[in-house]
Every structure is written in C-alpha cells, then in structure tokens.
C-alpha cells in the first residue's frame, strides 16, 4: 500500500514539474509576487518633468526642490502662475506641478501646518504617484529635523524593513492559501478534463489512498515553495526576523496546507473544468482571506464579522505565523493556533475528502 501511495505521489510530482505553466505560476507566486508585495521592487521614477510656482520667494522651497534631481527628475522648471502650470500639465509638458503658496515658509518657520499643493498627471499613474511618495518623504524629513538639511534622501527612502517584511509575510500567507486550494483541485480536475478520470476510477486501489496521495503530493509542493520564499525572499530580501522555531512554522504550514486542500477537494468535486475551478477558488478564497484579518485587522471589524472570523482557518494561521516570526512565542504557547488550524482543518479536509470520495 505504501508503495502504491508513493507511486501516485511520484506521478503527481512528475506531472506537476512537466506542466511548465503551473510551475511558472507557483514559482512566481512564491518569489516575485511576495517580493513585490513587500515593496522590494519599486517602480523608480525616471526623468520626471517637474514644474513649480513659488510665491514664497525662495528659501525652504528651493531647498526642497534641490532634492529633485537626476536621474529621477529633470531640473524643476519655474512657472509664474498656477494657471500656466496647469496648462503645461494639461499639455503633458509637465508631469508634476508643485505650488508653494505665500504662507508656506511662514507657517513652516512658525512650526504650524505648512502645506504644499501638488498637481499630478494621473494618467501616468505609477510614475506620478511614486513621485508623490518621494515628495512626501522629502517633506517629512524637513518637518522632522527642522534644520537646513543635507541628507541623502534616497537612503532615507529605503524600505523600512519591519513594515515591509510584515507585508511580504501577509502576502506569502495569502499565496499559500490560494495555491493550496488551487493545486489539489487542479490535480483532480485535470483528470476530468483529460479523460483519465475513468482510468483512475478503475485502478484497483482504495479510493482513500488515491485521494490522500494526490493531496499529499500537492502539500509537498506548497511546503517546498514556502521554504523557498522564507529562505530566499523573506530572510534575504526583507530581513524578516525569526524569533521563534522554524519547525513550528513548517508544521503549522503543513497542517494549514491540508486544511485548504480540503477546500480544494470540495471545489474539484463540483467543477468540471479548470475555468470553473479557478472561478470557484476565487469565490471561496476571498471571504476566507477577508475574514482572516489579512486586510483589515480583526479588532477593527464589525462585531459579527469579528465572530465569523473565528471560522477562518487563515486567521489562526496568520496569527500563529506572526507570533512565531515576530514575537518568538514558544512552541507550547502556540497551542491555540495549532488547535484552531487543526480543528477547522480536520473538518474541512474531512468534508472535501467525503465530497470527492463520492465520485469514486
């Protein structure tokens, strides 16, 4: 029986490795996707044309403008009135317009709220919004230090590692959820689509073994992917701290992958094509992620949703992982996260298992 189990696992892994489309998707999700989500890759502005109107008579305003230099920005161009500047933006001569009003310098010196008006050409969305964040950072530094400054802004703008590693981790957990639902579902639906389903049914094997082996093979892929992300992207790219036990994290991931695999099995049992599988996965995944607190913190939810979120296995997984990485909680103190994942996981997996088992 063990041998049969292993041959099915081997076959599925082989099948996976040869479906290069799937391999690319999985590799992308576990590396670049997490990296980008964590802000590791920014779209750097290049040669952004800046225009300004300065009603203050120079000083701080010029200091700020001096930080907009090549290669990111062209030398800022002066305009005499706001009208002219708007026109230039409209004609696409200028992408970002900055207006220093008469009160600006005064307010700034008096430590009052000093405001700069910024006009953006929003059609070049990414460039202009990144420029905006540059500007915000520049201005932020001015207001913090309150002295004529000469610091390398670009360094200051570097990712604040804590916040970014947090974002990358959340993205990873979502990726795990998506793939561990999708992959096991695909394994079964592919058999339906390619017409090998009947052959599978006619194998002289206990269907339970088939289902278990097939889902196990996909869990292996997920766990391998997670190791890649954590080792390559999170530790190297974002200096994610590892305050707890890596083993605990792997174990929790393993159980969680089975939990989502249960959902995958359910999806596979009701869908006939890849298209349906993809749609259904999205449909089920969204509330799951939403309720988990990955997007809105749980404490900020409506009380009913907050209660409901207890039903999302992802919630326990996320909180468990955060505890492991950031807080370094001891293995024994993680028990309620494990319990949450295990209890919900057993129910979901059992249900999916039954559902798909009925087709055998």
């Amino acid at each position: 029986m063990i041998k049969v189990f292993l041959s099915i696992v081997t076959k599925e892994l082989l099948d996976f490795l040869r479906s290069w489309g799937l391999v690319v998707l999985v590799l992308y999700s576990f590396t670049l996707d997490v990296y980008i989500a964590g802000g590791g890759m920014q779209i750097e502005p290049r040669n952004v044309s800046v225009g300004y109107v300065d009603y203050t008579g120079g000083g701080i305003s010029q200091k700020i403008l001096s930080h907009l230099h090549e290669p990111e920005f062209l030398t800022p161009k002066m305009f005499l009135s706001q009208r002219e500047l708007s026109k230039a933006i409209f004609n696409k001569e200028i992408m970002v317009g900055i207006i220093f009003d008469q009160e600006f310098e005064k307010n700034y010196r008096n430590k009052k709220e000093a405001t700069i008006d910024v006009l953006l050409d929003a059609t070049a969305a990414s460039q202009s919004f990144t420029t905006l964040s540059y500007l915000q950072n520049i201005v932020l530094n001015f207001s913090k230090l309150n002295i004529p400054i000469d610091i390398d802004i670009h360094k200051l703008f570097n990712p604040n590692s804590d916040e970014h590693s947090f974002m990358a981790l959340s993205e990873l957990l979502s990726v795990i959820t998506m793939l561990s639902i999708l992959l096991p579902a695909i394994v079964f639906v592919r058999e339906k689509e390619e017409g090998t389903w009947d052959i599978m049914l006619l194998m002289p094997i206990n269907p339970k073994i088939t289902i278990l082996a097939k889902s196990f093979s996909q869990v292996i892929i997920i766990v391998a992917g997670v190791m890649i992300t954590v080792g390559l992207v999170l530790f190297n790219g974002f200096n994610l701290p590892m305050n707890g036990s890596f083993l605990a994290f792997l174990l929790l991931t393993f159980f969680y992958a089975f939990t989502s695999a249960g959902i995958g099995l359910f999806i596979a049992s009701v869908s006939k094509s890849m298209m349906q599988t993809a749609q259904l996965s999205m449909l089920i995944m969204m509330p799951l992620i939403f309720l988990s607190g990955a997007w809105t913190p749980v404490y900020a939810m409506h009380p009913i949703l907050e209660k409901l979120s207890l039903l999302s296995p992802l919630r326990y997984y996320i909180e468990g992982c955060e505890s492991i990485f950031f807080r370094g909680t001891d293995f024994v103190d993680l028990w309620h996260y494990f319990a949450g994942v295990l209890i919900l996981g057993s129910i979901l997996y059992w249900y999916g298992f039954r559902k798909i088992g009925k087709l055998f």
């Binding site: 041998k3 049969v4 041959s7 099915i8 076959k11 082989l14 099948d15 040869r18 479906s19 390619e194 017409g195 090998t196 009947d198 052959i199 049914l201 006619l202 194998m203 002289p204 094997i205 206990n206 006939k272 055998f360």
Partner: protein, 542 residues
C-alpha cells in the same frame, strides 16, 4: 466557376517535421475528392493548409482568390467549412444540440428565416438528432458528437467543404445518410467537397481519390483505376514464404507472379501492397503466455436485465448478455444505441439502475465487490486517454506499480510488450507525438499490463488506418489464444464482425439480436457482407 487549385503545397512543422510535401491537385465545382492513406501521411496537414489555418509553401487558389498564407486566406474563409479530426472537437459541452446550430449560424451571420429552419431540420434529421435537440453536448454519445460537429460545419452552406475523417465513429446507417446529404449539397450548390476517410467502402463513392503515402500524394484516380493498378498483386490465400509476399487471413499479396488464382482487389489491398513495395515490414505482432496461471470461470460476465436511465430517457433497457471464457464478443449498434453506457455499467463507471450483474462468478452489489475484481479487468475507452505529461514508458510503469507489479518484473514486461506489439521505438515518446495506431496499441498495453482476464474495448479501432487495424485484430486474436482472455468490443467497422465469435446488436437501448457470425449469415443468405445484415436489422425494425 469556383474551382480549387492546389499548387505544390508543402507544410513543414517545428523541428523540420514534414507534414505534406509538394502536393498539387485540382478540383472542380461539385466534385468530391477523397483523401486516403495511412495515419500520419499528411492528409490532415493538407486540409489545414487549404482551409488557411496553418502556414504553408506553395499556392492555393479558390475561384478568383489566390492565397499563400493564412493571412491571405482570410478572405476565402467565409466560403470554407472545415471540420477537424477528432470526436466533436468544435463542440461546447454545455450547449445543447439546438443551441449549437444557432450559435454557428450566428457566428456566420446567417438569417434565421424559414429557409434556415427547414435546412436545420433536414440536417438534424440526417444526423438522427431531431429527438435530442434539448440535450447538452456532453451527454451525447461519441458518434452523436461527431454528427453534430458535422452539421455545424454544414450550417452556412460552404462552397468548399473540408471534412477530416468525418465518419469516424459514425454508424453505417448514418454514414449512408451523410453521403446522401453530401451528394445533394454538391449537386444543388456545386460545393467542392474534400473528405478523408478510413472506411474504404466509402472511398469508392467519391469522384476521385488521392492516395497519400510518405507525406506525398502518391497516386490519384477513381477507385477503379486505383484498384486496377494493384490487380496483379492480389491473390486468393496461398502459402507464400518469400519476402516479396504477405499473407493475411483471407488474401495473399505478392510482388512476384504466383502460380495461383487472383482475387478481386479492394482499396484496402492498396495499402498492404504499398507497404510491401516500400519494404516497410509490418511489425510482427506476438504474445507470449501469461506469466501467472489463472483459473477462469466458464462464464466471465453475466448481465440480467441491466437498465440505465438518464432522467426519463432509457439508454439501456433490460439487457441480458453473457460473455464466455475465451470469447470475443462484438457489441454493435447505431450511435446512441447504448453501447458505451452498457460497458460503463459493467465497469461501475455508471451506477446500475436495474438488473443483476455477475463478474467472474461474483455478484456485484457494491463498490467493494468490484474493487477485488479491478485487477482482473482491462479497459480501453473511446478516447484512449493516457497521462499526457508522461512518456509511454512512464505511463506503463505507473500503471504497473498501481497494480502492484514489482518494478523489475514491470520493466521486463514493458520491454516485452514494446517488442511484441511493435512500439519499442516509441517507448520514450510522449503520447501526443504518437501516430494514432501506435497510441492505440500502447493503450492496449496499458490495459493488459496486469494480465487481466477480461477486456472491455470501446471503439478501439475508430480512426485508425487499415494496416494498424489489421494488426490490432491480430493482437486480439493472439491474446485470446495465448491467454484465454475474453473480450467485449464495440466497433462501427462492420467488416470487423468477421473477427468476432459472437455479435450482439443493440438498438435504441434494446438488444435485438445475439448470435454467432455464421448464424447471422445463415439467417440472411442474401447478404454478401455484415454491413448488409446490420442495415437489414435496423431497417426491418422501423
């Protein structure tokens, strides 16, 4: 006048694989041109080129349009109807029969007027689908899907009709009706029809035949001209040991004159003589004894009143059937008669609604009863489905390991089957790169790797060329002799009834005849072949 002129067309695929080389021919308005030839000799490639969906070298003109590339062909596409090879590839599983016709009419911008409605009814009738207009495509039988694709292709009354093996898996009665329709279309509308086929009786109905071999057009002419060209090589069965000779079960071919009586040549003979001329030795098929001895009961399968319903529709109606040890039983019947459904009930792929089933002396009541028997049963489905991402060898290793055959033994068996069934050269190829005939033998190898006692084969010979089919039956015969295996097989080649020990005829879900082939002939002394007998049953019951 819209004539077709194909001028030295060459198709080359990735990796310098030649599809078709230097093909030239002309066709006039209203002409039916047949493409015949073994699998993989370039018939489909040429059709794809003419229909303007793949790149080619050379020139094609249709009427006043001349084209050298798919792009230039855009302007003729509205006159072309092309039906690719394969069971219902152009269909959408979730659309009903009626929705399909309307969909294809909409795509082609056809006015839904009275004319259209009459034509639609006529097509539906021809395809035998009038009763099933509300049925979704995924619930149609294999042959019904094929016929639906065909009438979808005809719906816009193309001026140039390209049909790639349209009658694969289509029953004899429908084939006759199809030919009537094609004949009408070309007479009424002057359509040029190009058809490839593996049924040689059909080929003889065409105005002109192009014989493909080695990815070229080797010969062209009427069916009579082609058969006459080989007349001298065809003899009544005589022993002959020469290398220039080939001896089959009722005929002998020889390139050198033999001192024996000639036989009237048929189109099928051309294929064997071609192989002989090209010194392409037919792979010698052999089967050695079972590796494990087995006790087999005298009755392998016994069905009593098996019934299957889909909603109100009764697909199989109280069918009794018996399969004996060491017997080849042919299951014949028109499309949708319930053959596949019956086999699927035997296999447990569909639950049995009524009736009793006994397999290998074991009454089947639950999934558990079946599980024990699965290792004694082999099955090849209507679509030869195997795992695409694994090579032939890997597929077979996988099947063997699932059947718990030790690895060393499995490898040895795979080598042996490769040699005996003649696919050794393809062991490391991927299933999609195999010629159909090889694919089918390899599917059989997968189905017998565990040395089963009984084999269920659903249209294993559909779409396969004459020689491959001949070799396939040789294989079945050997399996029967060497292993004492029992085989239940469905087919739409009526001539294959001759290879069966017994034949069961199904019609609209009911069994209408069950006898040995000899007895069938005895009861119908006027019939000269099994097709006539079959048609008689179907007509007389109407």
């Amino acid at each position: 006048m819209a004539n077709l002129n194909v001028n030295s067309v060459t198709v080359i695929y990735k990796g310098n694989r030649i599809g078709i080389k230097d093909a030239s021919f002309k066709a006039e308005e209203g002409e039916i041109v047949g493409f015949i030839g073994a699998d993989g000799t370039g018939k489909s490639s040429l059709m794809h080129a003419i229909s303007g969906i793949i790149k080619f070298k050379g020139e094609i003109s249709f009427g006043k349009y001349v084209y050298h590339s798919p792009k230039e062909a855009e302007k003729v596409k509205k006159y072309i109807g092309f039906m690719p090879q394969g069971l219902g590839l152009i269909l959408y599983d979730r659309l009903t029969v009626e929705e399909h016709l309307d969909f294809f009419a909409n795509v082609r911008n056809i006015k839904m007027d009275k004319n259209f409605k009459t034509y639609k009814q006529k097509l539906l009738h021809m395809a035998g689908l009038s009763r099933f207009t509300e049925r979704e495509a995924e619930h149609l039988s294999g042959g019904m899907r094929q016929k639906l694709s065909l009438i979808c292709t005809l719906i816009h009354r193309p001026r140039l009709l390209l049909l790639d093996e349209p009658t694969t898996g289509v029953d004899p009665l429908s084939r006759l009706e199809l030919w009537e329709i094609l004949d009408n279309i070309r007479k009424e509308e002057g359509t040029i029809i190009i058809v490839s086929t593996a049924y040689m009786q059909e080929a003889s109905k065409m105005d002109r035949l192009l014989l493909f071999d080695d990815n070229r057009i080797m010969a062209s002419g009427t069916s009579k001209q082609l058969t006459d060209s080989v007349r001298n090589y065809v003899y009544k069965k005589t022993p002959c040991k020469d290398t220039d000779c080939l001896e089959l079960h009722n005929v002998t071919y020889s390139l050198k004159p033999l001192n024996s009586e000639h036989k009237d040549p048929t189109l099928e003979d051309i294929f064997f003589i071609n192989a002989l001329k090209n010194r392409k030795k037919l792979t010698e098929i052999s089967v050695s004894k079972r590796e494990r001895r087995l006790e087999i009961p005298p009755i392998v399968m016994e069905a009593k009143g098996l019934t299957k319903k889909f909603g109100d529709f009764v697909a199989d109606d109280k069918i009794d059937m018996e399969l004996k040890r060491n017997e080849i039983l042919g299951l014949f019947g028109a499309n949708g008669a319930g053959k596949t459904t019956f086999i699927k009930m035997l296999l447990g792929l569909y639950p049995i609604d009524e009736g009793e089933l006994t397999l290998l002396s074991q009454p089947i009541r639950s999934g558990r009863d079946r599980r024990k028997l699965k290792s004694k049963i082999g099955y090849v489905s209507q679509h030869f489905a195997l795992y695409k991402n694994m090579s032939v060898r890997e597929n077979l290793i996988y099947f063997a390991s699932i059947h718990q055959i030790p690895a060393s033994e499995a490898l040895r068996r795979i080598e042996r089957y490769g040699k005996e069934l003649g696919f050794s050269d393809y062991l490391d190829a991927m299933p999609k790169d195999l010629p159909l005939g090889i694919n089918q033998r390899f599917s059989i190898a997968a189905a017998i790797i565990h040395e089963p006692v009984v084999l269920f084969l659903d249209e294993p010979t559909s779409g396969i060329d004459v020689i491959a089919r001949h070799q396939f039956w040789q294989l079945l015969k050997l399996l029967k002799e060497q292993w004492g295996i029992s085989i239940l097989i469905t087919t739409h080649y009526m001539s294959e009834a001759e290879y069966c020990d017994r034949v069961v005829l199904l019609k609209e879900g009911k069994k209408i005849a069950d006898d040995t082939v000899e007895n069938f002939y005895k009861k119908h002394p006027e019939a000269s072949n099994f097709e006539e007998i079959f048609l008689e049953y179907y007509r007389e019951a109407n």
